[in-house]
């Protein structure tokens, strides 16, 4: 057990270290000087521009040698300081991200969990059923093959613009002030639906076919045949097969998180939903590398944490790993 997690933790730590280093490198290697961008077309006369330039360079801590900047970065990181945004100067990157995170959680958690649940159930259901296998399953493949933004665009266009049933921008109406009123919550859900459903559908397709293919292998496994030979009802056989097929799906979930994040990113862009993805785009378009840095860091941490949780879940559901680990090997 210890060995297993020890190894996992090493991976996580080294991943984190690497990622953070890449992350730190971004603004330093990016073209364009954030200060110049911040100051472009402000002061009227060249010499005053020079004065402010040096001033802001100090403000962003870009005046010390690179290695020092790197150490300062780590130091600041452990104090929860992700630096100052250029786009939203003088706001702190951390505060911006913290404002955005709830929207991501609100969008991603339901989308991921529901699509995972529904997809697996459906896939198990469709497997080895000639009719479903040939009719609905191709749909699953089409869904996973659908580019996130395209599904978003289609939904925004059809349901949002042509039919006019759903709003296709922002997290809540521009005429609303956040509050715990029913009206506001309904409004929130109304805006949440389209981005949610486009994330859900694509995830659903993927999990469905994943499970379908997994469970077919399981149904062909010896233990399934033995159960059949002992006249166990179809239900029981499938139940066991599902239980075994779900395991790789769980690891799959862990490894998919990165992809899902990127999907959420473009979806948020399409529906201008103010989550991290939305900020990443803002940051890129406005060359706000500090913000970009922060968002990226946040994603990294999110993915790592989620992975770790899933690892723990996996160990609890799969006896083989657990017993293997007691044996000391993993």
């Amino acid at each position: 057990m210890r060995r297993y997690f020890g190894r996992k933790i090493i991976i996580y730590i080294s991943t984190f270290f690497l990622a953070v280093t890449i992350d730190w490198a971004i603004p330093r290697f990016m073209p364009g000087n954030p200060v110049v961008n911040l100051l472009s077309r402000t002061a009227l006369r060249a010499e005053s521009a020079q004065a402010m330039y040096s001033y802001y360079t100090r403000a962003f801590g870009l005046d010390v040698p690179v290695w020092k900047q790197y150490l300062n970065f780590w130091n600041a990181l452990f104090h929860g300081d992700l630096g100052t945004s250029v786009l939203l100067f003088p706001q702190k990157v951390a505060t911006i991200i913290m404002k955005a995170v709830p929207y991501d959680a609100f969008l991603l958690i339901p989308a991921i969990l529901l699509s995972f649940y529904a997809g697996n159930k459906f896939g198990a259901f469709a497997a080895r059923n000639k009719w479903l296998d040939n009719t609905i399953l191709p749909l699953g493949y089409i869904l996973t093959a659908t580019p996130y933004m395209w599904l978003g665009i289609l939904l925004a266009w059809s349901l949002g613009i042509v039919a006019g049933i759903f709003p296709f921008a922002s997290a809540y109406s521009f005429s609303m002030v956040p509050s715990f009123s029913l009206a506001f919550i309904l409004d929130l859900l109304h805006h949440w639906f389209l981005p949610f459903i486009s994330l859900f559908l694509i995830g659903f397709g993927g999990w469905a076919i994943g499970m379908r293919n997994m469970i077919i292998y399981e149904l062909e496994a010896d233990y399934s045949h033995y159960l059949e030979a002992l006249g166990a009802p179809r239900g029981l056989v499938r139940k066991y097969a599902f239980r075994n097929a779900i395991l790789p799906q769980i690891t799959g979930l862990a490894l998919q998180l990165g992809v899902i994040f990127s999907g959420a990113l473009v979806t948020e862009v399409v529906f201008s939903y103010p989550g991290i993805g939305y900020w990443i785009l803002q940051a890129i378009q406005n060359q706000d590398y500090f913000l970009l840095q922060g968002c990226f860091l946040f994603i990294i941490i999110g993915v790592l944490v989620a992975n770790f949780i899933i690892d723990i879940i996996y160990v609890t559901v799969d006896p083989r790993t657990r017993i293997g680990m007691q044996g000391g090997s993993a």
Binding site: Y223, E228, L230, L236, Y240, R243, N244, D318
Partner: protein, 320 residues
């Protein structure tokens, strides 16, 4: 009569056509009889074993009838068969090693399995434990996952599991092939023990290893190329076989333990015919040292003396 098989035909569907793996087999097994089923690989013995329990694609039921305790078994119908499986006819599969769901505790799995057959686990628990002792398994295997058991233990566990509902017929498919000699002996003795204790009425023991059968079987059925060659009591098959194939088989039988199928039969020239479109007449004809013109006709499987059946014109000729 425990089991009566009449003219059973089961083919394998392949793209090149039907492989006549089981081409009209007829035999009986008495109550309490342990029948060994032997023959080279691909002679159809496994097909026979499986078709009695779980006849699935690409196997195809052609014709014939299987009666167990004077009751017709609908072996062609996967679902109808469920009624008989486990309770009346059961199997210890070749892959006993990984026959149990890896993610369920053995006890839980057993209870769920029994439950699905409307049997209460609690009530059977005492009996279950008794049998576990019998096969020298501690009771706490029930709280273990299969991965925690050794190969032999799994095998014995499966033995107990498969026979838990006292079926009248148990099919043991190559159960010893994966074990070392000593364990082989133990397991086979357990089979006999189970029979003696009436946990199972009768058995078909499918194996490559005639020496095992010599220890446990009451009678032996020799198959060749999807047809029956000879059936008689173990004594007779071993000491005075009639069918030329059986004779060669026994004579070429190396010392106990080694399975002949691993190397080609010495002294028997040629190969087993392809069952895709087998030769008419006696299928052993081409390799048979004593073959003669009559052999182009299909030899019937006839009882030449009590409980001794042979399908060979020579024998029939002499006694005719």
């Amino acid at each position: 009569m425990s089991l009566e098989v009449k003219n059973l035909r089961v083919y394998y569907q392949t793209l090149r056509g039907d492989v006549k793996a089981l081409d009209g087999v007829t035999f009986n097994i008495k109550d309490g009889e342990i029948m060994g089923l032997a023959g080279e690989s691909g002679c159809g013995k496994t097909t026979l074993g499986h078709s009695l329990v779980r006849l699935i694609h690409p196997m195809k039921f052609i014709e014939g009838s299987v009666r167990l305790d004077d009751e017709e078994l609908p072996i062609w119908d996967m679902n109808k068969m469920n009624k008989y499986r486990f309770s009346k006819i059961s199997i210890i599969p070749q892959y006993a090693m990984n026959a149990m769901n890896p993610t369920r505790k053995i006890g839980k799995m057993t209870s769920e399995l029994l439950g699905s057959r409307g049997v209460n686990y609690k009530n059977t628990l005492t009996e279950l434990n008794r049998r576990l002792d019998l096969v020298k398994l501690t009771q706490d295997v029930l709280n273990m996952y299969p991965i925690e058991l050794s190969g032999g233990m799994k095998q014995r566990m499966v033995l107990v599991l498969s026979t838990l509902m006292n079926p009248s017929l148990l099919i043991a498919d190559e159960i010893t092939s994966a074990l070392d000699v000593s364990t082989q002996k133990a397991v086979s003795e357990m089979l006999v023990e189970f029979r003696n204790r009436k946990y199972v009425k009768s058995m078909i023991v499918i194996t490559h290893d005639i020496s095992i059968l010599y220890q446990i079987a009451d009678s032996i059925l020799i198959m060749y190329a999807g047809k029956l060659a000879e059936k008689a009591s173990t004594e007779i098959i071993i000491h005075s076989p009639k069918h030329p194939y059986t004779k060669l088989l026994i004579s070429s039988l190396p010392k106990v333990g080694v399975r002949y199928s691993e190397k080609k039969l010495v002294g028997i020239p040629g190969n087993t015919p392809l069952l895709l479109n087998p030769p008419i007449g006696c299928r052993f004809r081409d390799r048979c040292p004593v073959a003669f013109d009559k052999c182009v006709e299909e030899p019937p499987f006839i009882e030449i003396e009590k409980d001794h059946f042979v399908a060979c014109w020579k024998e029939l000729g002499e006694n005719a």
